[in-house]
């Protein structure tokens, strides 16, 4: 059974279509994966591309192949100002205790 494989590829555009070039192979990016405006921004850049068999299934970031358990790399430090803003908001709303 095929498994997802992540490779680095370069996004290129040609005749209104977008492709990822990995080594010598060029694969069209399925329209469902990203809007043209987003792809234009990525053109010329190297991005992580996830292949499942010969199909591209994710572009631009590592897929989270999980369901139920948080992947270790999902955690992000939230900007302290934003967190404090929300703590204040929900403390004032009476939901959090100060």
């Amino acid at each position: 059974m095929a498994k997802p494989v992540v490779k680095e590829g370069k996004v290129v555009s040609a005749r209104g279509k977008f492709y990822v070039v990995v080594g010598r192979s060029r694969t069209e990016i399925p329209a469902a994966l990203a809007e043209p405006a987003g792809l234009k921004k990525l053109a010329g850049t190297e991005v992580p591309v996830t292949f499942f068999g010969k199909s591209i299934v994710a572009l631009g970031r590592r897929p989270f192949i999980l369901c139920y358990v948080p992947a270790p790399d999902i955690f992000k430090l939230i900007q302290p100002d934003l967190q404090k803003f929300l703590q204040k908001k929900y403390t004032e709303a009476g939901i959090l205790q100060g």
Binding site: M1, A2, K3, P4, P30, A31, A32, L33, A34, E35, G38, F52, G53, S55, I56, V57, A58, R61, P63, F64, I65, L66, C67, Y68, V69, P70, A71, P72, I74, F75, K76, L77, I78, Q79, L82, Q83, L86, Q87, K89, Y90, I95, L96, Q97
Partner: protein, 363 residues
């Protein structure tokens, strides 16, 4: 022995359900034992020493193992959970405790190793609605207290929200509250049906419109606050145009691949995942590799639902028809489509106040 069977397995995660006992009665609970739970002191329950031995056994066969999720039931009902977590942390493993959060307090938290991750559930910003979904009054206040306490102890926190028909409308605020509670990641888990919740599907499954609105809200939260939101339980792209969401991470069933998380029950029995009731083997008697590599295990992962075989969507191979275990649980075969798909597509937008009764009241 073939060369393939000599190679080590390459899994990164396993789940250990340390007990079936739970003091909540969540409306959406998919556990196959939800109506008949083994008590906390059931004689078949793995001891702390047995859990460590079993994880060592698993690791011998899959040296890539990085993370053990301690789940239940409610794992904190086990008084020795902090010590179980410490044993695993000493083995160099990441430990995630999947909990309602209501039983977290200073005394317990001080006994956990400092790098423990707590995944807590927050169903809504509305206390009454949270309690209705959890099936027990007063739960919301206890979750808030418990998670604030864990935050003060500087544990890493992930918030899980099970999205159903009742709470799909207030996702942005719920995630905001999670961030205020110091969550650094969000798991957006749409309800996943099982045999026991299938009769409630019309009342619990959100419509595609509601689900879209909930995803829009999660996208907004990720954009505004920079928090990672994993849409963990698969949402097939025939329901939602997932290309709209640039800030959400969509997950798929790993179908036995390296991302699979085989689940070990309180009694040492191994299942394909937390959602499935199918017993693949007994770790007290067999090796992990024997269980995973046997033909019946490999066969479990193979079926693609009949309706999905002609799908032309580029994500078809990843999607595979949603949750394989849900089709299996509800209809007895993985060739049957995940029931969420049909119910979501046929559901109409809901009224907010729905009363759902359970066959058994909280004990």
């Amino acid at each position: 022995m073939s060369s393939r069977s000599k190679q080590p397995l390459a899994f990164h995660n396993v789940v250990v359900e340390v007990t079936q006992a739970c003091h909540h009665r969540c409306l959406h609970c998919y556990n196959f034992w939800r109506e008949e739970r083994a008590p906390i002191r059931d004689p078949a329950t793995l001891s702390r020493a047995e859990i460590l031995e079993i994880i060592r056994k698993v690791r011998r066969d899959t040296p890539s193992l990085e993370q053990v999720a301690l789940s239940g039931g409610e794992p904190l009902l086990r008084p020795d959970l902090p010590e179980i977590a410490s044993d695993l942390a000493r083995e160099g493993l990441n430990v995630v405790v999947i909990t309602s959060g209501t039983l977290l307090n200073d005394e317990r938290l001080q006994r956990f190793p400092p790098n423990t991750v707590f995944e807590f559930t927050l169903f809504s910003i509305d206390a009454k609605l949270h309690d209705q979904i959890a099936g027990r009054p007063g739960t919301f206040a206890k979750v808030i207290r418990g998670i604030q306490c864990a935050g003060r102890h500087n544990f890493q926190l992930a918030m899980a929200c099970v999205i159903n028909r009742l709470n799909a409308h207030d996702v942005l605020q719920t995630i905001e509250l999670g961030i205020a509670l110091k969550a650094q990641a969000v798991l957006f888990n749409r309800i996943n049906l099982s045999r026991s919740t299938l009769p409630l599907a019309d009342q619990l499954v959100p419509s595609a419109k509601q689900l879209t609105e909930a995803l829009d809200a999660a996208e907004e939260a990720a954009r505004l606050y920079g928090i990672s939101v994993a849409v963990s339980v698969p949402i097939p792209p025939c329901i939602i145009d997932i290309s709209r969401y640039q800030h959400l991470h969509f997950g798929w069933c790993p179908r036995g691949g390296d991302g699979a998380y085989y689940t070990i029950g309180y009694d040492g029995l191994v299942r394909p995942c937390n959602h499935s009731s199918v017993v693949l083997g007994d770790l007290r008697k067999e090796s992990f590799a024997q269980i995973v590599r046997r033909e019946s295990t490999q066969k479990f992962w193979q079926p693609i639902p009949l309706e999905c075989r002609t799908c032309q969507h580029p994500l078809r191979d990843s999607c595979g028809g949603g949750c394989l275990a849900a089709g299996h649980e509800c209809y007895g075969s993985g060739e049957q489509m995940d029931p969420f798909i049909a119910h979501c597509l046929s559901a109409t937008p809901a009224k907010q106040s729905i009363s759902i009764s359970r066959s058994k009241s909280p004990s």
